[in-house]
Amino acid sequence: MSLRTSLKALPTMLRIGFSEAVAYRAEMIIWVLATTMPLIMLALWSAVARTGAVGRFGQAEFVGYFLAAFCVRQLTSSWVAWLLSYEVKQGTLAMRLLRPISPLLAYATEVLAGIPLRLLVVAPVVAISLWVVGAGAVPASLGGWGLFGLSLVGAWLVTFYLNVLLGTLSLYLESSQKLMDIYMVLYFVCSGYMFPVEFFPPGVRMVIDVLPFRYQMGLPVELMTGAHATGPALVLLAKQWGWVVGLGVVATLVWRRGLARFAAFGG
């Protein structure tokens, strides 16, 4: 599809996506309630920290970390895998394919259009974090904010591409639900969502650093709470964007092949 048409259509697509998000606001509140695991983990780690700090984490640091984790989840999450597999099952993917615009772009705008509404949830949480933790809850400098922003965009893209990859598999498998379950489990444990990845023993850390999950959650959270100096932060960002590019290529290729298969077998 030509880039020009896509760019011209983008503002309208975003606006209508936003209207849809508003229509589904009750939905979103339910989803927000469903993503409160960082608060549970916060309660747990606060109980642990009552008898003394864990590494560099005292009670206040845990508050900062898990509130940031909550916010990052709100802003980077993606439901494209579910949407795709649902549309494959219902055959409505065909309706998307009839349109002269890439379905992937359409999915991406749908997710992006939901972000303004999510900011409404995120803003008060950040305020609470600032109140409890103080200035340490957010990056200290403009440069810090820049790195954090970059990591947030990277995290969004890694999550999006992983979703596309998983969703496309539903073109091959009878039920890709199980794979999505496994993905969620790995995401929860390995991303820094339930506890900071630095709590893993060193051997496991090496593996975690190589997997994409940390770059979906842990990295932006760490950059928001100022866990890294600029040097190491840049190294981590480079690794994250490596994943962005790699997954982008793989997801697009698999998607194209999946479509060819869809066209061979019918919807």
């Binding site: 209508i16 589904y24 349109r99 061979a264």
Partner: protein
């Protein structure tokens, strides 16, 4: 406009008989069968034509439409739509066509249809003035004024289908594929849809291909029909000629002033139905004049009309014929 040469579409389908044993067996081994959804079809359609695809369920009509719309890749054969190869899904091609499926919708469920129209305007890159004009026409022709600002989920099926059609026409497609567009609609809504589709074709000169279970749709809309049966083309021509071929007999419908003897009717032709105040006879075409003359002179006729057999009957006869022919062929193929 559209040319199809030797189109074939075969699928591999996983097959499992019912029952616990079969379920257990399929854990280890799955058997596949090849289904020939479309098996060698060729035809040409000129710009502005309205063509109806007829055939029993699973005959390959929808598969053919999906191939023409670029959603399915043909297993074999050449397909061209206005100079494009559909399976390449070029932007220029997609902007020229639209497929409306009665059972699948593109309208955003929880937003008013107006939003989907707007979205399509952006996606199809329709210039504002043209969009405004098209929308105004669609709204007045389909009487959508009150509908397009209500969330889609609150519309009735018929209202939704009208909006669905409007959404499909925002970019003024040159080729319109309609797959069961009137399914589930009440009779008056079917009439509205038909009239609108016909008007769109006449006004814009768009090419139209339609599949429908309702023969009336096809009779009202399509001067030309293509009959597809078991993936093969079994007829291509006018609807009238098809009826002539399958059922050369005509029906003479009589209204009677008083009850008449059954034997009297039987002497005139085959009695299709007989009630105290009316009767329907079936006679060979060349005998119509003679029969009408005799009926008028021997019976207390108050009204008389000559009709073709109902289309539904013609079709079911046609497909029965196809079945019988295949059975015959199968018997001949197997040595005794």
């Amino acid at each position: 406009m559209i040319s199809v040469r030797g189109l074939r579409k075969h699928y591999q389908v996983h097959k499992r008989p019912p029952g616990l044993k079969a379920a257990l067996r399929s854990l280890v081994h799955r058997s596949y069968t090849s289904v020939k959804a479309v098996d060698g079809i060729s035809f040409d359609i000129k710009p502005g034509e309205r063509v109806g695809f007829l055939g029993p369920n699973g005959a390959g009509k929808t598969t053919t439409l999906k191939v023409l719309a670029g959603l399915l890749h043909p297993s074999e054969g050449e397909v061209h739509v206005d100079g494009h190869v559909p399976r390449l899904r070029e932007e220029a091609f997609l902007k020229k066509i639209m497929l409306v499926m009665g059972q699948k919708q593109q309208l955003l469920w929880d937003l008013p249809p107006a939003e989907t129209f707007e979205l399509n305007r952006a996606i199809y890159d329709v210039p504002r003035p043209q969009y405004k004009q098209t929308l105004e026409e669609l709204v007045s022709l389909l009487e959508l004024e009150d509908l397009i600002t209500k969330p889609t989920r609150q519309l009735s099926l018929g209202e939704r289908m009208k909006c669905e059609l409007a959404a499909a026409l925002i970019h003024r497609p040159r080729v319109l594929f309609l797959d069961e567009p009137t399914i589930g609609l009440d009779v008056s809504m079917q009439v509205t849809m038909r009239a609108f589709i016909k008007a769109y074709n006449e006004k814009t000169g768009a090419t139209l291909i339609l599949t429908s279970h309702y023969m009336d749709d096809v009779a009202a809309l399509c001067p030309r029909v293509i009959v597809i049966d078991k993936g093969q083309l079994s007829y291509d021509g006018t609807l009238d000629a098809l009826v002539q071929r399958v059922r050369p007999e005509k029906r003479v419908v009589l209204r009677l002033a008083r009850p008449v003897d059954a034997a009297l009717l039987e002497s005139l032709g085959r009695v299709v139905s007989h009630e105290p105040g009316s009767a329907v006879l079936q006679v060979q075409q060349d005998a119509v004049n003679a029969t009408v003359g005799r009926a008028l002179s021997t019976l207390p006729v108050t009204d008389l009309t000559v009709e073709n057999a109902p289309l539904e009957e013609v079709m079911s006869e046609l497909f029965q014929e196809g079945k019988a022919r295949r059975a015959e062929a199968a018997r001949e193929a197997v040595p005794a």
